[in-house]
């Protein structure tokens, strides 16, 4: 055993030549190991009657540059020359061959590689004896076997299973009555989860070797581990989901949603169990998707349709009422504008009239009597027309001249001026002053 390991250390420094020996160990590694580390005499003995000895010879030749086996070379040559032992030499060669093969086999079986992605457990007739953590070359006794453990992060996502939420009694109704969905909880959920796990690693846990041992003893393989995890997580999750309502999965209010908490707590819960019982390190458990099970989908679609109808109706109603509101607001505003305009117009008109009156007053008040006289004349013009019959007293001022003739020196002025408006202005306005004529409207 010791020799073997020496040889392997040697390997490292003389990579090319040794690699050869290595891979060929099954058939002719023996030649090599001889040359290197076996007692000389032994090698010699073997080499002597060797028929297959060409082989060794060539072999050495091929590698002579990198091989410090110049000595060997010599020996072989020598044996070649002295070779013609024949007879028993063939038999010897066979023996040598077989022996070397066996030795090589033993040597090969004493070493193993630990890959970057693995831990390797060395087993002795099935009993775990040693854990190799460091990647690289490892050694064992030939009768020991190795168990390779993938230490990479494993992703396991089983097909989803249907779980009942807390609102479960309403399933039947929910399927039947689409409209009551809002008030009811929800139908059962189909929940898919995944778990990320690996066998315990040094990074996470100083005591990880125990964990790995537990994994080897109690679980052994990745599929077995996944089965265990599925059972565990499924039952835990079912229990947890049973305490939750659908609103904790989906809600418009972020405070309601308990998904993250569920996943975190589930991870914590399973992490302890898995490590203690199976030697599995859980990185996390997450819910991958959740949905209504296919069986209730038609009912769900019916609900969604009903809900959309409600939404559509709401939109339409909103549209109508909003439009109505806008219209009536516009109508009101219009009425207000018009009313205000009418008031303004009235005010402006009033102001105009007032101003007109002020102007008229200012002018007329300079001589009210003249104004009255003037206006009366104007009024006559306006109110007396061709349909009017006028009855005049012969004594009226107008006709006095006609009836009385020209007065010698009587005052014509005063009556003409003074009484003209009074006497004749009777009309409809002032009735019957002393000398007033009588006018009548049409019959």
């Amino acid at each position: 055993m010791h020799n073997e390991s020496d040889k392997h250390e040697h390997d490292h420094s003389h990579a090319p030549s040794e690699s050869h020996g290595h891979s060929h160990n099954h058939d002719h590694n023996h030649g090599h190991s001889h040359g290197h580390s076996h007692p000389h005499s032994h090698a010699h003995d073997h080499g002597h009657g060797h028929h297959d000895h060409d082989h060794d010879h060539d072999h050495d030749h091929a590698h002579s540059h990198s091989h410090d086996g110049g000595h060997d070379h010599h020996h072989h040559d020598h044996s070649h020359v002295h070779g013609p032992g024949r007879g028993g030499s063939i038999k010897r060669a066979v023996v040598t061959c077989v022996t070397a093969g066996l030795v090589g086999l033993v040597a090969w079986s004493a070493c193993f590689f630990v890959d970057q992605t693995e831990y390797v457990y060395v087993l002795e007739f099935g009993r775990p004896v040693r854990l190799c953590v460091e990647p690289g070359l490892g050694f064992k006794l030939p009768y020991q076997s190795v168990r390779r453990l993938d230490r990479r992060l494993q992703m396991y996502s089983p097909p989803g299973s249907t779980m009942l939420t807390r609102d479960r009694p309403q399933i039947g109704q929910a399927a039947g009555d689409a409209r009551s969905r809002a008030s009811l909880g929800g139908p059962p959920l189909s929940v898919d989860w995944y778990v990320c796990w690996r066998i315990p690693t040094a990074k996470a846990n100083a005591d990880f070797k125990k964990g790995v041992l537990r994994f080897v003893l109690s679980v052994g393989s990745i599929p077995a581990a996944q089965d265990r995890l599925r059972e565990r997580i499924d039952s835990m999750l079912k229990a947890r989901v049973g305490e939750m309502s659908l609103a904790e999965f989906v809600s418009l209010d972020p405070k309601d949603i308990g998904l993250d908490r569920l996943m975190r707590e589930l991870t914590e819960q399973i992490r302890r169990d898995a490590l203690d019982q199976f030697g599995i390190e859980i990185v996390d458990v997450r819910i991958k998707r959740f949905n209504h099970p296919e069986a209730v989908k038609p009912a769900i679609f019916e609900m969604i349709r009903a809900e959309r109808q409600g939404v559509a109706k709401k939109y339409r109603d909103e549209g109508k009422s909003e439009a109505d509101k806008i219209r009536s607001l516009a109508d009101t505003e219009r009425a207000e504008i018009l009313a205000k305009a009418a008031a303004d117009a009235e005010r402006i008109r009033g102001e105009g009239e007032a101003q007109a009156m002020r102007i008229a007053n200012a002018a007329h008040s300079q001589d009210p009597e003249f104004y009255q006289f003037l206006k009366t004349l104007e009024t006559y013009r306006a109110i007396l027309n061709e349909k009017t019959t006028i009855v005049l007293s012969s004594e009226s001022n107008l006709l006095r001249l006609l009836t009385d003739g020209h007065p010698a020196a009587t005052s014509t002025k005063p009556p003409a001026k003074q009484s003209a408006p009074a006497a004749n202005g009777a009309g409809p306005a002032s009735s019957g002053p002393p000398g007033g004529g009588n006018t009548e409207g049409k019959p």
Binding site: M155, P293, A342, A345, E386, I390
Partner: protein
């Protein structure tokens, strides 16, 4: 025997040749010897290592963008509708269903981690992305999801995905999440279309009402403008009239005052002369005499 020797030599050389490898310009090689990593970032070029079985070389392309898909309906169909809920369907916060398909693009930032710390990095990313999509959609209403669009949702999913991936230490970086599909399930798409059309109806109705309102108000404003304008015009006319009349009066008065008696008599008589001929009948009676009104009937 010679042939045999030659074959063995050829075999040996061929075997040794397996230790030679090249690394491309956009590649990095991670070299494992006896399983242990001895070179994490072998540079581009020709390298000589141990032959097959002893050295293992993994080539990665740090610049290459890798892609995984979630909610891929192609695989969905392969699984069959009866087995699992549609892979692309997600529940929204208001308990609606929405179809989401997305592609996640990522690059390798740490080849050693990427190669050796996970059994199947692509699957981990896919599952984590699915989880991210589920949890993101669980808090959104279908309407907000459909109206705010793919890009907004993709950003949220990417954030959650990055959080999910952080604890796996995979040596990858998520470059982008992009949604290739975002729609209601085909079974109810008609109902969604109707709701959407109702929504546009609402907008149309409101718009119509607004147009009506604007029209009416504009009308009212112009009408009121007209009214006040008219009133102002009347105001001006009345004032003008009054002013002109006043001027005329003042002018007359001025002249009148120069010879009041004459002016008054003339004005009076002129007026009489003007109006009296217009009358149908003129009766002149003496004071105290009765008037026989019947005569008026004969005349017409």
């Amino acid at each position: 025997m010679k042939w045999f020797v030659a074959a063995v030599i050829a075999g040996a050389i061929a075997y040794l040749a397996t230790g030679i490898y090249t690394v491309g310009t956009d590649e990095r090689a991670v070299v494992r010897r006896f399983g242990a990593v001895i070179d994490e970032h072998a540079e581009p070029g020709l390298h000589i290592g141990l032959p097959w079985g002893l050295d293992r070389v993994d080539l990665v392309k740090p610049s290459e963008t890798k892609t995984v898909k979630i909610g891929d309906r192609a695989t969905d169909r392969a699984i069959g509708p009866s087995l699992a809920p549609s892979l692309a369907q997600f529940l929204t916060g208001d308990q609606n269903l929405v179809i989401v398909e997305a592609t996640v693009q990522y690059t390798i930032t740490d080849p050693t981690r990427y190669l050796f710390s996970l059994a199947d990095p692509a699957e981990v990313i896919t599952r984590a992305a699915e989880s991210a999509a589920s949890t993101t959609l669980a808090g959104k209403s279908i309407d907000s999801v459909l109206t705010s669009g793919k890009d907004a949702l993709a950003i949220l999913i990417k954030d959650t995905l990055e959080q999910n991936l952080r604890r796996y230490e995979m040596g990858v970086e998520v470059r982008s999440v992009s949604l290739t599909e975002l729609s209601p399930p085909p079974q109810v798409v008609d109902a969604f279309t109707r709701a959407a059309s109702a929504r546009s109806d609402r907008e149309r109705l409101v718009l119509e009402a607004k147009t009506y309102a604007n029209e009416k108000l504009a009308q009212a404003r112009s009408e009121s403008q007209q009214r006040t304008d008219r009133a102002r015009a009347e105001h001006a006319r009345a004032v003008d009239l009054a002013r002109s009349e006043a001027e005329r009066f003042v002018a007359l008065l001025y002249e009148y005052r120069k010879a009041p008696a004459v002016a008054a008599a003339r004005m009076y008589l002129e007026t009489i002369a003007e109006i009296v001929p217009r009358f149908r009948a003129k009766l002149i009676i003496d004071r105290g005499q009765d008037v026989d009104l019947t005569i008026m009937r004969d005349q017409p």
